[in-house]
Amino acid sequence: MAMADKTTEAVAVAQTTGMPRLHKIIFSVLLAALIVLPFVVYPIFAMKVMCFALFAAAFNLLLGFGGLLSFGHAAYFGGASYIAAHAAKVWGLTPELAVLTGTAAAAVLGLVIGALSIRRQGIYFAMVTLAFAQMVYFVALQAEFTGGEDGIQSVPRGDLFGLISLEGNIALYFFVLTLTFGGILLLYRIVHSPFGQVLKAIRENEPRAISLGYDVNRYKLIVFTLSATMAGLAGATKSQVFQLASLTDVHWSMSGEVVLMTLLGGMGTIFGPLVGAGIIVTMQNYLATFGAWVTVIQGVIFVLGVLLFREGVVGVLARWLKKPL
């Protein structure tokens, strides 16, 4: 956690540089749209999209900007959702504390797993993260408090700060909006901070970054931990939205889903993961009535995405506009 604190300080210093006007406009429009959204579409669905958008954005920090392909991000997402659900249900914590506990757990998990996996590169790195994620899955399956394959159910929504009831969908929506939008802005700051610049340098050419005197492993560990923490924030928030934590969130297919979202939206772009998450979650939700066709359609879209626009939806858009998005 000490490292993460230092980074937030660095972010605060870098804040003065500000963001490009285009990004400012997009973020403002996005926020305005999100404020109106729960009155247009079903709020629970909108909250789910936001949780996955944050999850994908956190993953993108690691893959798109750090150049590290983790295949075990479900561990932090699902792990945090279990801890947050347990904290809210059994320990009786208020929602914001439950989410914080879950996020902190994901940060610790990320720090430990990150410290061990960044020693390897490429496919080995991916395999090590997958192996750790499988261990977390088995803990979730076996441990007493996780309820096995039933998961942790009927988590109370509780009162924010012990005062404001989150029973209503709209109240909960704005709680989730604050968390996820805040998280995404934080990720944006991290990417555009001096720390983020070093990350990109490492991604482009690691030996050169080393020769310039950067302690590459430390940067990798920090970005890994940050990514895990934000994925944890997304998972913990999701457990409050759905009032449950289940094996789905720690299963390896969840790790795969977040890769899909990021690639479809546009790896290494700011808005890509948000778009990707939106597309995938919308498909899962609105195509649910088509039954078996959901997975088939998802597959076809992915194949088309890879064949036609390899940079992802937002990546292609950015190329047209000739501006980074």
Binding site: Y42, I44, F45, K48, L141, Q142, G147, G148, E149, D150, G151, Q153, S154, N169, K238, F242, Q243, L244, S246, L247, T248, D249, Q284, N285, A288, T289, F290, G291, A292, W293, V294, T295
Partner: protein, 399 residues
């Protein structure tokens, strides 16, 4: 003035009392797995069964308009609970049917109670639905793991299978299945000669099966589910375990699984189900109609959706509206149902539907006369014996 009031009240009572004029709309949502491992045993077949129930109930003649929608929860509780909430909040669904996969069912049960709908669960096996997480609006229709364990354990021990050996999937579900069965076996004078925990999921059961073979047990209990059970049965067939005289008992297995394995592989397997298509004239007649539309014989889960829907519609008719889920569920607990598929059914105060369960043995290839001619019925277990007793705090008829 008073006279006028009396007349108008009488007139109103007459209007309300006339059954043919009742104008009730009901919206049912069939929520199950349509693409994954449970798609065969629930899936589209459950929707077909629900439609048949609406048809057979003659809902239209009784002034009840029924609309059925369906969706795939992909066995993910978050997707399932999202759909359930949306159905209640936006689409005006009154009752949700089927819902296999315990984690999804438990999530939907909570939402149903919150939104005052009714959940008639047929596909899930968790006993928590009517125990740890009982809700006044939950009706658990077809089976639960305890009833299957009870049925198979008690009936087989009484029939002479005194010594049991368990192959247990090493996670909460497997352990609870084993524990339930072992208790029943011991209560009926049997003994457990050995247990081996098998990592989950497993593909290679050979060393565990050899242990079971060498243990001197009469019955090998498979406390696992789905792909694990299929793998274990296939390998047991290769070892010739049932031909050598040991009995193989699956504690959670469905007719579609047996159909997929075929009698050559599955012969001699014992299992408990709530329904089999070839039990009597009524089940055969109904199953034939089902087969004509769906192209496969019904499973007990699909049959349960049918009879659960019939019972629900009867309760809605009696209450006069589907709007208040709690009232409809309470009505279902008062009524007695005589069902063509499940026989006499009574819904207990905790929402557990009590009906007979049956112990079957899979036929040998010589006995089997057709693709779906799979079971010999060994015995029937009365509902009171099969299901766990009701917990006091879950008896919602008292409150």
């Amino acid at each position: 003035m008073i006279k006028k009031l009396a007349i108008s009240t009488a007139a109103m009572a007459a209007v309300i009392g006339a059954p043919a004029l009742a104008d009730i709309t009901v919206k049912l949502g069939v929520l199950n797995d349509r693409s994954g491992v449970y798609a065969d045993l629930s899936g589209e077949g459950s929707v077909v069964a629900a439609r048949m129930a609406v048809e057979d109930f003659k809902a239209k003649d009784k002034g009840i308009t029924v609309d059925i929608i369906s969706a795939d929860h992909q066995n993910k509780p978050d997707i399932g609970s999202n759909i359930a909430r949306q159905w209640y909040d936006v689409d005006g669904v009154n009752a949700i049917l089927d819902v296999p996969t315990s984690s999804v069912a438990l999530a939907v049960a909570d939402i149903t109670a919150e939104k005052n709908g009714v959940l008639i669960d047929s596909g899930a096996g968790s006993t928590a639905l009517t125990r740890e997480q009982c809700r006044p609006t939950t009706i658990h229709w077809t089976y639960d793991t305890a009833a299957l364990a009870n049925g198979t354990g008690a009936a087989m021990t009484k029939a002479g299978g005194k010594k049991w050996f368990f192959l247990t999937a090493d996670y909460a579900f497997g352990h609870s299945l084993e524990e339930n069965t072992a208790t029943v076996v011991k209560a009926n004078g049997g003994e457990v000669v050995g247990t081996v925990n098998v990592p989950f999921p497993a593909t290679d059961f050979s060393s565990f099966l050899l242990q079971a073979q060498g243990s001197g047990a009469n019955v090998i209990g498979l406390a696992n589910a789905g792909g694990d059970t299929v793998n274990a049965i296939k390998q047991a067939a290769e070892f010739g375990i049932t031909q050598a005289g040991q009995k193989l008992a699956a504690l959670l297995f469905f007719v579609t699984d047996v159909h997929a394995l075929g009698p050559q592989t599955a012969q001699g397997l014992s299992l408990t189900e709530a329904f089999y298509w070839d039990q009597n004239d009524a089940t055969r007649a109904w199953s034939k109609r089902f087969m004509d539309t769906h192209g496969a014989q019904p499973t007990m889960v699909q049959a349960g959706v049918y009879s659960g829907t019939m019972a629900y519609l009867a309760a809605v008719e009696a209450v006069g509206s589907a709007a208040d889920g709690k009232a409809v569920a309470a009505k279902m607990k008062e009524m007695d149902f005589d069902d063509p598929l499940f026989g006499k059914v009574k819904v207990r105060g905790d929402g557990r539907a009590i009906h007979d369960m049956y112990l079957f043995e899979v036929k040998t290839p010589d006995q089997s006369k057709g693709e779906w001619d799979l079971y010999n019925q060994i015995s029937s277990i009365s509902g009171e014996d099969a299901f766990l007793p009701m917990l006091d705090e879950c008896d919602f008829t008292k409150k």
